[in-house]
């Protein structure tokens, strides 16, 4: 008996070493698979980028009228400028040639010139990116936390009164034009009750840097971020709720309970990680949809981001700017997709073994 115990102890010491070695080996294997997975995902993005460029090119060629106007916009310009653009994009050359030079231009981020803003399109766009990301980021953090939290609560007791209330709220949010919600909020909280500024990102009287500047931006951020947040909240909530309902009836939840795990542990340690994967996918894959919402929200609140720029481009029929925005936004969407898949694989390594 004594001998057996000491043997077991000795065995344990050895076992710890062996365990460490095993862990290291398992880690190396998974890293390799991971690298291969990321590389494959990146490669898969290439044809999509080509298609995006092809769409742009087709639009330029197929739009009614001379393609040169698709590269200038409906603007009063000089014949010299028209000739210059025609020359620059090789519009007199055969189509395949034109396509190649168009790809080359886009590859170097030369997205053309906006005659209306008198500025390079790429510069114009990248100036506006931070404002959009600030708005989207804020709204996304708030709506994810609230949406997932509400989804867990509602999904835990499906068809209870909390669930019904939250579901009705979400369905309403989901059915409301986001810009109209913005208009209503603006009417109430900026016009009738002058609590928040009506338009813009920072007030003219605010200092140009420091805490005063930040405070002014935050003050301007409240309404658009709330409206935009509600829009996402409904999506994230609906998804989380459904997935929690799915996961909570699965067998491994029974195992967790049969181990003696408490309700909170079952919900947050066992169910949520399994439910959240599709939610992350939905957030990531809907990045384009989110940017679409941002065009509308930014337009309502005069928020100087990509969306507002798009609105200005539409109303000036500034075609080069529209095309440029489409390319940049598509790139963001593709990046968001790849990132989503990478995060997915981090949480669920099963995908690496397919």
């Amino acid at each position: 008996m004594v001998e057996a115990t000491s043997k077991a102890n000795g065995g344990d010491a050895v076992a710890t070493d062996v365990a460490a070695a095993g862990k290291a080996r398992a880690k190396r294997g998974i890293r390799f698979r991971y690298a291969r997975y990321v590389a494959r995902r990146l490669l898969q993005a290439v044809p999509i980028i080509v298609v995006i460029v092809l769409i742009n090119f087709t639009l330029i060629q197929a739009a009614p009228g001379d393609p040169v106007y698709a590269l200038i916009g409906q603007m009063e310009t000089t014949p010299e400028y028209i000739a210059q653009v025609r020359e620059e994009f090789g519009l007199d050359e055969p189509l395949p040639q034109q396509f190649l030079s168009y790809i080359a231009k886009i590859a170097t981020f030369d997205l053309g010139y906006s005659f209306r803003f008198r500025q390079d399109v790429s510069g114009l766009i990248f100036e506006r990116v931070p404002a959009t990301f600030l708005l989207m980021g804020t709204a996304l953090v708030i709506s994810s936390l609230l949406g997932i939290g509400l989804g867990v609560i509602a999904g835990r007791r499906p068809f209870g009164w909390t669930d019904n209330a939250a579901t009705i709220f979400a369905l309403a949010g989901f059915s409301m034009p986001v810009f109209w919600l913005g208009q209503l909020v603006l009417l109430v909280f900026a016009l009738k009750l002058p609590w928040f500024p009506v338009q813009g990102m920072v007030s003219l009287r605010a200092p140009s840097h420091g805490w005063g500047y930040i405070a002014s931006v935050l003050h301007h951020l409240v309404l658009p971020a709330t409206v935009y947040g509600i829009y996402h909240l409904t999506l994230i909530f609906r998804m989380t709720r459904i997935k929690m309902m799915d996961v909570l009836v699965q067998d491994f939840i029974t195992t967790a309970r049969s181990k003696g795990a408490g309700e909170r542990r079952v919900l947050f340690v066992h169910a949520l990680p399994n439910a959240i994967l599709p939610v992350i996918t939905v957030i990531g894959y809907n990045f384009g949809f989110m940017l679409a919402g941002s065009v509308l929200v930014e337009t309502v609140f005069g928020w100087p981001g990509l969306g507002r720029l798009m609105y200005e481009a539409i109303n000036a029929r500034d075609y080069p700017l529209l095309l440029g925005l489409f390319v940049v936004i598509s790139l963001f969407v593709i990046i968001a997709n790849v990132l989503t898949d990478i995060i997915y694989a981090l949480i669920d390594p099963r995908i690496l073994y397919r």
């Binding site: 699965q250 491994f252 309970r257 181990k259 003696g260």
Partner: protein, 324 residues
């Protein structure tokens, strides 16, 4: 000998939208220390619901109507949720039919075992990991050092069932409930898993409640049998008694069908007639619509579960009453 589980006159109903499902009715059952007991019946007869009642892992629309489930001096029917958490995985371990779906796909095997340890012993992370490794060795997993870091999808069916057993016995429970533990496995693996459960019973002194439809397993590994039909126990006897002298016509039919290995199936399709509806069970003896030896009292009066013959067998049948 002392009992680790004693169920007295338990009635549990499921209140569904379609009506009351009489899942368990007036069920009494006892498991003694270190003993292996079988609960046998067709699928849908309420045997899994009995197991889930013991663990109190029932759906929210389940209601206990009467009776008690006594484990370690507590009545689990009325025990507070906090006490149930101590029982689950601590005093009673449970393993299930399909080993893949019963493991969390996103967590390493070792973590899932260590969790059980930490929930019941207050052990630290390192200590719990060491115990998880030991539990894996206890269920005879070769290469346990590597397997701890594997995810469920990387393991075979038999390995997964071993992992589930490791989780269930990690805290050395006094009772292990096995709900159809081998149904989803290959025949060769089935034997290994049953051997393992039997060995653990001897090593750890854990009593086993085996829920199954496979009478072969019962003959090999259990000492006593409860036969369940339509939410009720219809026969309760020692293994030898049941195999040599089955008394209830349902038990007889079960035995006959299991003697024809070519026709054994999970729902004993060999017995004539539909399995009963627990939503609206037939009046009188629940088995009478399918019983080959049905006579006068059967359709109107429910027979009691009474002692029959010289042994200690208990049978719920009018035929036995007529004999006496």
């Amino acid at each position: 000998m002392t009992d680790v589980l004693r169920i007295d006159d338990l009635t549990m109903h499921l209140e569904t939208e379609l009506g009351t499902v009489r899942a368990v009715e007036n069920l009494s059952l006892r498991v003694d220390e270190g003993e292996a007991v079988a609960l046998v019946g067709e699928s849908g007869c309420g045997k899994s619901m009995t197991a889930l009642s013991i663990m109190r892992l029932l759906p929210p629309y389940a209601r206990f109507r009467s009776g008690s489930i006594r484990v370690a001096g507590k009545d689990l029917v009325t025990a507070p949720e906090r006490a149930m958490r101590q029982i689950r995985g601590g005093t009673i371990g449970m393993i299930f039919q399909d080993p893949l779906t019963f493991l969390n796909p996103l967590r390493q095997v070792g973590e899932q075992i260590a969790e059980a340890v930490r929930l019941h012993t207050g052990a630290g992370r390192v200590e719990a990991d060491a115990q998880a490794l030991e539990a894996l060795r206890r269920v005879r997993i070769a290469d346990a050092e590597n397997v701890v870091h594997n995810y469920p999808h990387q393991l075979s069916g038999g390995m997964r069932q071993r992992v589930l057993i490791a989780i269930a016995v990690a805290c050395r429970p006094s009772l292990l409930i096995c709900d159809e533990p081998t149904t989803a496995l290959d025949v060769t693996i089935q034997a290994q898993i049953m051997e393992l459960i039997d060995n653990l019973r001897h090593e750890l002194g854990t009593a086993v409640l085996l829920i199954t439809h496979d009478l072969g397993l019962v003959a090999q590994y259990c000492s006593r049998v409860y036969v369940m039909y339509a939410g009720q126990v219809v026969e309760d006897a020692g293994v030898r008694e049941i195999f040599q002298h089955p008394r209830h016509p349902y038990t007889q039919a079960l035995l006959q069908s299991s003697l024809r290995p070519d026709r054994v199936s999970e729902d004993f399709a060999v017995i004539d007639g539909q399995p009963p509806q627990l939503l609206a069970p037939p009046p009188g003896c629940r088995f009478h619509p399918r019983c080959p030896r049905v006579f006068d009292p059967c359709p109107s009066a429910m027979p009691g579960l009474d002692r029959a013959g010289e042994g200690r067998a208990m049978v719920r049948c009018h035929l036995e009453e007529a004999h006496q």
